[in-house]
Each structure stands twice: as C-alpha cells, then as structure tokens.
C-alpha cells in the first residue's frame, strides 16, 4: 500500500467520503423509530453541537485555503488576520445574537431578512436585505473554487473537472440532505477542522521539516524575501496588511460578519435562550483556534518556496509533510468541510427566494387566490429551483479561478456587512434606532461599498467593508437621532414582547 501515490490515496478517501456521506443519509432514513431525525433537518441543538456547527460554518474554504494563501503570499504581517477576525466576529455575535434570538422567536422569523423587516416594520429592508444576500453567490463560488483547487492539488485532476466533481458532490449532499446527515456531518466536520487547525499550529511551532522551530520557519521565509519575516509588523504598501489603520478596518469589517444569513441563522436553532451564554463562551476560543490555520500558509512558504498558487498552500503542505495516506485524508477532510459550508449556503440562498421574496413579499400580489397550503407548496418548488440555479451560477463564476479566494469571498460578504452593520447590529443593541435611520444606513452601506469597488477600485475588501461599516453606522446613529423615535409599543414588542 505504501507504493500508492498521494493522488491515489486522495481518490480512495474521496470515494470513502462520498460512500460515507451516502451511508449517513441511508442510515438517517432507516434508523429512527419516529422519523424525527429525517423530518426536521436541524432539530433543536444543544450548545456543544451548535458551537461546532457554527465553527464549521464560519470556517470554510477561506480558513483553510484562502487565508493561509494570503499568509503564504504576504508573510508574517498576514497574522493580523487570525488575531483579529475571530474577536471581531464574536464580539458582533455577542452584541446582537441575544436580541435576534429573542425577537426572532417572538416574531417567528425564518431568516435574518425577515427579522430585519419586522424589527423596523419595513418591507423595503426585508426585500433589500434579501436581494443583497444574493451576493452570497460569491461566497458559494469561493467554496467551489476552494474545493476544485483541493481536487487539483490532491487528486491531480484539471481544475475545471474539479469544479464539475465539486458540484456533483454538493448535489449528492443536497439530495441526501436529511437532518441526521446534517447533524452528524456538521458536528463531525467542526471537530475535525479543530483537530486539523491544532495540528497545523503544533507543526508550525515545532517547525516540522525545518531546523529550529518557528524561528527556523521565519529564517527560511526571510531567505526568500526579507519583507515577509516577523520583524515586519506591516507589509509596506500592501492594500490589506499595509498599516495599523488597515488592520483596524479589518477588525471593524468583521463585527457584523455573524449577521450573514447562513451564520446568524444558527442562533435560531438553539434549544432555548438560556443556552446562549454557554454557546457564546465556547464559540470564541474554538473560532480562534480555527483561525490559526493561517500558520500553515507561512509553513508552506518556508518549506516549498514561492512558486505555488497561494490558495494551494495547505494542501501542498500536507503533501510535503505527511505520508500519502494521511495527506490524502487531511485534504479530503478539508474538502468535506468546504462542501458542507457550500451546502448550507445553497440552502440559505434558496430560503431568500422562497421565503423572503416569494412567501413574505410577492405571493399575495402574484397569487392572491392561492390558499396558504398552495403558496407553501409553490415556495417549496421555488426553493428547489433556486438551489439548482445557484449551483449553475456558482459553477459559471468558479470556472476561471481568481488569485485569492479570500478576496472573492469578501466581494459578497463585504457588501452584506456594509448593509447589515447599521440595521442589524446597531438596531439590535440600540433601542433608539429608527426606521429612517435603518433604511438610510442600509443604502449608504451598500452604495458606498459598490462605489469602493466600482469607482475607486480599492483592492482591499476588508478595508472597503471597514470604511463602509463605519460610514453606515454613523449614518444609522445620526439619522436615528434626528428622526422620530419608533412608537414605544412597537419597541416593546421587539425588546420585551408581551401578549395583548
């Protein structure tokens, strides 16, 4: 067996993974006495399972490929990223999740756009945020690119074939997407990613493959390019890690990250509000550990040199350091995590079409005579159609891979962040927020972000999102202060609801 190549092992593990996934699906269908596990895709989870699910949702292709890719290319200054982003994400989550969970329960929200519409009593915000959330397609694309890159590096198949195989595997995932499969794969992958991140961290500090631990890695990188070593806190002239100001913007940009529909939704799955505390306390360290996967990018640079495509750094590191069987397994494990994130995103996008746009907004206009049951049936069909459409759109966008996954991902996420910062984050914690403030903030956030990309052409998505988040937040506060407060009754309905 030792003679098998890394590619052969990777194929072996891929088949193992697909058969295993199908097996979980079949097991889920046949196992239960009551059918409950299949029927309710995400049954009420406890905080332990949900923390792993949240971690595996936040940490995706970008965590194991895109961000290490940045570190591979930009050296130690890229370490700002893992130091900053978990703190930003989880502070944002702590600030707003309690209200979103509480009010979401009270208002029966199925999604964040729906909640936003209810918070400010505004159809415009619901539809606007739903349409804006369609930018998640870039997030999906980033996952497909990541998976296809892993196929390319690990399995030796052409990138374009990698895209096709990825989409087929995702299709299998969606088809067997019963609940038990979801529960098992989410929690299992979260745990596995945690182990891989720890492994990468330990290997980095031991300096595996080099002499002298982390210092050895630093020296090897310095021999290639002195501006990449740990003596450089910032990477002069770099649009992302060039100065402290840019790093602060990166932090600000991540504050509303948890407001992404597919992440914030996790809060709705908690069994009850009392578990939020435990959930949040565990989420921060686990999220931080996953961030350390970035160290693998530095390690790969030291060991392999500068010739790789940056996003391939971690798979290449595994190939370099481990025997073929283990390297193949680790690569496929990361691949499965990427695919499970993409799977969740497809569902989120489908919910935008079926729930936020059709069921809540347009059904009573275009189907005024349909019964509630018929409307729900149509919504289901729309959800399926939207999923298929999204798969093909992602495939088309992923066909020609960009240089940096993380940047591709942030084209979409940055737009959502900029629009969500005011209405969702400030609106969740500040009672005085008004409808006019929320709409102005949403518009300013989105338009300014588009201007950053299209007019100014700033090549730093974190910086662009950071500036737009600040701008949108200021607009939210100023406009709210100069406009009429929302009626006290309405506010009580949200912040402390009582039955009439």
């Amino acid at each position: 067996m030792d003679e098998l190549s890394i590619g052969a092992w990777a194929w072996f593990w891929l088949v193992f993974f697909i058969v295993g996934t199908l097996g979980i699906g079949v097991y889920a269908m046949t196992k239960t006495k009551t059918d409950e596990d299949f029927a309710v895709a995400r049954k009420s989870y406890g905080p332990y399972i949900l923390v792993l699910a949240l971690a595996s949702t936040i940490a995706s292709g970008a965590t194991f490929m895109g961000i290490p890719g940045l570190a591979y290319d930009k050296g130690f200054p890229a370490l700002w990223y893992p130091a900053i982003y978990p703190i930003g994400i989880y502070i944002g989550l702590i600030l707003s999740v309690q209200l979103i969970k509480r009010a979401g329960d009270a208002f029966r929200s199925n999604s964040l756009p729906e909640f936003l519409g209810q918070r400010f009593d505004s159809d415009f915000l619901r539809v606007g945020f739903a349409l804006l959330s369609l930018l998640l397609i870039y997030y999906v694309t980033a996952q497909v690119v990541a998976a296809a890159t892993a196929f390319e590096v690990m399995l030796g198949v052409d990138y374009q074939w990698g895209v096709i195989v990825t989409v087929i595997v995702i299709g299998i995932y969606i088809t067997i997407g019963g609940s038990h499969a979801d529960i098992l794969t989410d929690a299992f992958q979260g745990g596995l990613m945690l182990l891989i991140a720890l492994l990468i961290t330990v290997m980095f500090f031991l300096g595996t493959g080099t002499e002298g631990g982390a210092a050895g890695i630093n020296a090897a990188i310095g021999a290639q390019d002195a501006s990449l070593t740990w003596d450089n806190y910032f990477s002069a002239g770099d649009p992302i890690f060039g100065s402290l100001w840019l790093v602060i913007l990166m932090f600000i940009a991540h504050l509303p990250f948890a407001m992404n529909p597919h992440i914030g939704n996790k809060a709705f799955a908690l069994k009850d509000s009392a578990q939020l505390r435990k959930f949040l306390i565990m989420a921060i360290p686990i999220g931080s550990i996953l961030g350390f996967a970035v160290l693998g990018g530095l390690h790969a640079r030291a060991l392999i040199g500068p010739e790789l495509r940056p996003d391939a750094a971690i798979p290449a590191l595994f190939v370099e350091l481990f025997p073929p069987a283990l390297a193949g397994f680790l690569g496929i494990a990361i691949l499965s995590a990427i695919i499970s994130t993409a799977d969740g995103l497809f569902v989120s996008i489908a919910v935008i079409f079926s729930n936020d746009l059709y069921r809540k907004t347009f059904s009573h206009k275009i189907h005024p005579n349909k019964s509630q049951k018929e409307v729900e049936k149509t919504a289901l069909n729309i959800s399926r159609g939207a999923t298929i459409l999204t798969v093909f759109a992602a495939m088309w966008l992923a066909w020609n891979p960009p240089d940096f996954l993380a940047i591709l991902l942030w084209i979409g996420v940055g737009g959502i962040m900029s629009g969500a910062a005011g209405p969702l984050v400030i609106g969740s914690i500040w009672r005085r927020s008004t409808k006019a403030g929320a709409i102005s903030s949403f518009l300013v956030g989105v338009v300014s972000y588009a201007a950053m990309w299209l007019v100014i052409g700033w090549q730093n998505p974190f910086g662009a999102a950071g500036v737009c988040v600040i701008l949108a937040s200021v607009v939210m506060v100023v406009v709210s202060l100069v406009t009429e407060p929302m009626p006290e009754d309405k506010l009580n309905e949200i912040f402390s609801p009582v039955r009439k």
Binding site: F38, A41, S44, D272, A274, R277, N355, N492, V498, R499
Partner: protein
C-alpha cells in the same frame, strides 16, 4: 384542564447568577443586595404536535414533537420534555391570568413546527400537522427585590428556563408586581 404546579427553590447561588446576568458590569462592586423575594407562577402550555410528512425519498413518516408556548408573551420554544414535577399543590404567590386559550396555544405550536418542517427539509413533498394533549404548567419563578432599587431594576429569575433579567425587560411580570400590593 389539568393545572400542574412545578416547584423550584431559590438559592443564593441563583441570585448571584441573576445579578451577574442582569448587571454584568456592576457585580464586581457588589452594589446590589437582596431585600426579599416573591414567587411568581409562570404559566406555559406544553403542546404535543404530530408531524406527518412525505418526502421524495420516503413516504408516510410520522413523529411527535413538543412545543412550550408562553402564556404571557408571544414566545414559543421547541422543547425536549415536559417539566419535571417535584411536587404539586397550593400555589402561594402571584398567579397571573392566562392571555391565551388552549386553542391559541395549539395554533402557535403548529405554526412553529410548520416553520421548522418547511424551511429545514429539503425534500419535503407533503405534510400534515396536528396538535394534541395540550397541558398547562405553572412554573415557579422568583422576583428578587433589590435594596434601594425601583421595581424596574429588580430581578426576575426563572430556574426552569435558566432565564434571569431585570424586571424592566419582563414587563409582563412587572405589571403584576406593581398591581399587587405584596408584602415581602
């Protein structure tokens, strides 16, 4: 309708937890002290919901779920079990009026489960939901009076759902406290 009183005890540890939850930045100063407490019997309907569904992969599935419906606030929670009954009997303290009927609770429970079944099942073909066995539980909760603080700042502690908040955030409880002239 069978009313079941679910008892709980109030310990100093719970009060400390309540102060910590409601006033996260002030607990170090040890500023608030308990002056007394009263019992508030919080009503919840527990509704069993039968879910029947066909998916494209499997037909004729059925199972039972359980939903707790808050009788004073528009809140529904999917729960795993009925409250554990230590003893039942006379309810001393404040017993609020129910704001919903058994039928309302059934509707709310079905609505919650419909949202879950519809939005979370990818291959759903058809479904039918029905509510049965609606039971009313009075869960023993506590209002802790704090020295030199107005009622809005007092603590509300719900041991069963592990909730603790300032009374200003629980107006449905506060209104009863202000209405009743209770001796601590």
């Amino acid at each position: 309708m069978k009313k079941t009183a679910v008892h709980a005890e109030l310990s100093d540890k719970q009060i400390r937890f309540g102060i910590k939850s409601a006033y996260p930045f002030r607990r170090f100063l040890n500023k608030y002290e308990k002056e007394g407490f009263l019992t508030f019997w919080y009503p919840w309907y527990y509704v069993s919901v039968t879910v029947q569904m066909d998916t494209y992969l499997k037909k004729g599935m059925a199972y039972k779920d359980l939903v707790a419906v808050d009788c004073l606030r528009p809140i529904r929670e999917r729960v795993t079990s009925y409250p554990e009954i230590h003893s039942s009997g006379v309810m001393k303290g404040i017993v609020p009026d129910l704001k919903i009927t058994e039928k309302d609770a059934d509707d709310e429970a079905i609505d919650l489960m419909k949202g879950i079944v519809l939005s979370r099942n990818k291959l759903l073909k058809d479904y039918e939901l029905s509510a049965d066995n609606c039971r009313l539980f009075y869960l023993k909760t506590f209002v802790v009076k704090l020295k030199n603080r107005p009622p809005q700042d007092w603590l509300y502690i719900d041991e069963h759902f592990q909730a603790a908040a300032k009374l200003s955030l629980r107006p449905e409880v506060l209104s009863y406290i202000q209405k009743e002239n209770v001796d601590y």
